[in-house]
């Protein structure tokens, strides 16, 4: 037999079989995540399934992140329902304001190399940056996993993504990740894992790797995995006492396809309405007027993202353009607190930014600022589907934190490298 990919290794360990691409395996999950958007339905399925208890209350976490804070009486009721269920079964609730599920479990050291993470949120794939097999499911698979601790999975084929070429100054991980999902297309990685390789991987911090893993689902990916290295160890060192060996793919592993992302040839990118796969160089979108800039989400709501944005805003004179609303939503409370301690949020607020509760925020129109009719939004998020932010007449563009900040300075889509 040929060697194995990271997915094959993790799913072998979790199923107790020699799992190969194409096999159907029943796996034991290490961590099962629900959100306030998916858990109310999951609780219904749990009851219909005759669920009596959670398979392991310590491995089930509920996050109140989509309606943070509740934007309607009904969403407040969803929260109470989830709290009551979690309390009855002894599971942890990540309360309103704690942050986005997959961000919080990562920063709390709950995801380790070799883990299988099941989350009822498509962006659970973000956790793959920690050398885990992390994948999104719906509410009924979540309910079954809550009861049994198990998930059946078809072992995915793997696409090898090689990050090569010297990264130019001013090229964000978001730019490269947008270029990657544009090349793959909206279903180019459907049912498959993206496994990241190449000499440049080491140049990306964990916060940047999360961006690649996160956006992978916009190409349909089931998982998006970076093998653990020294940077992973550093990230996990002060987050958990547990030490886990890296899961690496074998040199003779079989890949369904290989793509090369040559960083040296890339420049800042922007995804245009209404698809995250519709990506053009930012220089081809210059001058597009924007009325709202959104810094946040599980793609662009981490500490370095806001530092990059603040740097551009300061280089641009420290002033937000007239007619532009700048909405700032840290992905988690930890991010919020670090940005408070280092003064970033104070500076952004004094420039006129609106700082909102950590969580999913305005990303999917479930809480936070909804754009007005006909508005153009530039966002650090991952999806720009029509009506995604709650208004079908708004046009959403996606870009890096730096490019978003540049637009906040000028009032139009701007190459961040030209600011200051």
């Amino acid at each position: 037999m040929s060697g194995r990919t990271i997915s094959e290794k993790i799913l072998s360990a979790k199923s107790g079989t020699d799992a190969r691409a194409g096999d159907i395996v029943v796996c034991d999950a290490d961590l099962v995540l629900g959100t306030d958007a998916s858990s109310p339905m999951a609780i219904g399925y749990f009851e219909q399934m005759g669920g009596q208890r959670l398979f392991d209350a310590h491995r089930v976490v509920f996050s109140l992140d989509h309606y943070s804070p509740p934007s309607t009486a009904k969403t407040a009721a969803f929260h109470d329902q989830v709290r009551a269920f979690a309390s009855m079964h002894g599971a942890e609730v990540l309360e309103v304001g704690v942050g986005i599920s997959h961000q919080v479990v990562a920063e709390r050291g709950r995801v380790l190399p070799g883990d299988l993470v099941i989350g009822a949120d498509s962006h659970t794939v973000t956790c793959g940056a920690l050398d885990a097999f992390a994948t999104g499911v719906g509410s009924s698979d979540l309910a079954a996993a809550m009861i049994t601790g198990r998930i059946w999975l078809r072992v995915p084929e793997t696409i090898k993504v090689s990050l090569v070429g010297t990264r130019p100054k001013g090229l964000a991980a978001k730019d490269a990740a947008l270029a990657m999902i544009a090349e793959l297309g909206a279903e180019g990685a459907n049912y498959k894992t993206l496994e990241f390789h190449g000499a440049e991987v080491a140049e990306f911090t964990l916060e940047e790797r999360f961006v690649f893993s996160n956006l992978a689902v916009e190409a349909g990916a089931k998982a998006a995995i970076f093998g653990a290295d020294a940077a992973t160890d550093v990230y996990l060192a002060d987050r958990t006492l547990i030490r886990r060996s890296a899961v690496a793919s074998d040199a003779d592993a079989t890949y369904a396809a290989e793509i090369v992302v040559d960083l040296a040839r890339l420049s800042p990118r922007v995804a245009i309405p209404h698809s995250p796969n519709d990506v053009i160089p930012v220089v081809d979108a210059l001058g597009t007027r924007v009325q709202m800039v959104f810094l946040g989400t599980c793609t662009g709501g981490r500490v370095p993202d806001f530092h990059e944005a603040l740097d551009v805003l300061e280089r641009g004179g420290g002033r937000i353009a007239d007619g532009v609303q700048l909405v700032v939503t840290p992905a988690s409370r930890e991010v919020f607190l670090r940005l408070t301690a280092d003064g970033t949020l104070g500076k952004l607020t004094s420039m006129g930014a609106i700082v909102t509760t950590p969580g999913c925020g305005a990303c999917c129109g479930t809480s936070g600022a909804i754009p007005g009719d006909g508005m153009t939004v530039l966002s650090t998020a991952n999806r720009n589907f029509k009506a995604r932010m709650g208004n079908a007449t708004a046009s959403i563009y996606l870009a890096s934190p730096a490019a978003c900040a540049a637009a906040a300075v000028t009032g139009q889509i701007t190459d961040p490298r030209t600011i200051g």
Binding site: A13, K14, S15, G16, T17, I24, V25, V26, C27, D28, D30, A37, S38, P40, M41, Y45, Q48, M49, G50, H66, Y67, S71, T72, K74, T75, G114, A120, D121, S122, G136, V137, G138, S139, S140, D141, A143, A144, I147, T148, R150, W152, R154, A186, E187, N190, Y191, G220, K222, S275, C364, G365, T366, I370, R383, F385, K386, A387, R388, G390, A392
Partner: protein, 177 residues
């Protein structure tokens, strides 16, 4: 499982994401599919929901159900009286959610199907066939995988789990570290 579904084709395009099937903002007020079905595919066509008749079949292009994994996208389609979706491809999360709730996902070439065509979808075991009665054409469809056939045969993931289906498919107890 044996099933024969006859209905009218309701054609939509490629990359219909789950937010288009039902907008996340609608879920802030209710999760009652009987109410949410009024907003089915409203972003694609605000008049669509009102024009749906129970028994209609949804026909899409590539990558149906991409984006959010929200399961209500599958259950709202069922609530509208649509029991099968035909598409050239499905996103993996939508496909799972469909099977788990007994909505039949039919992966077949859909380019030849026009709005209003009479279609017959037949499921026999795990084999799916599609006939376009309007054009007298027969379309090859991808069979449903064995695991998903078991779930479908049970009537969905709820019954599958109630009946202890999981234990039947574990080859060996997993090793947890």
């Amino acid at each position: 499982m044996q099933l024969r579904i006859e209905g009218r084709a309701r054609v939509v395009g490629d990359d219909i994401n789950t937010d288009y099937i039902i907008a996340s903002t609608r879920k802030r007020d209710t999760l009652d599919e009987q109410i949410l079905k009024r907003y089915l595919l409203e972003t694609v066509d605000p008049k669509f929901a009102a024009s749906v008749q129970p028994g209609d079949l949804l026909v899409a292009g590539a990558n149906f159900g991409c984006g959010s994994a929200m399961e209500i996208a599958a259950t709202v389609i069922l609530a509208a009286g649509i029991t099968a979706v035909l598409a050239t491809s499905f996103s993996r999360t939508f496909y799972r959610n469909a099977i788990n709730n007994g909505l039949i996902p039919v992966e077949c070439e859909t380019n030849s199907i026009a709005e209003g065509d009479r279609l017959v979808v037949s499921l026999d075991g795990n084999a799916l066939t599609v006939e376009n009665s309007t054009h007298g054409a027969r379309l090859a469809a991808k069979p449903i995988s064995p695991m998903m056939t078991h779930i479908l045969d049970a009537g969905g993931i709820v019954e599958f789990t109630r009946r202890g289906g999981w234990d039947l498919y574990v080859r060996r107890a997993g090793t947890r570290t």
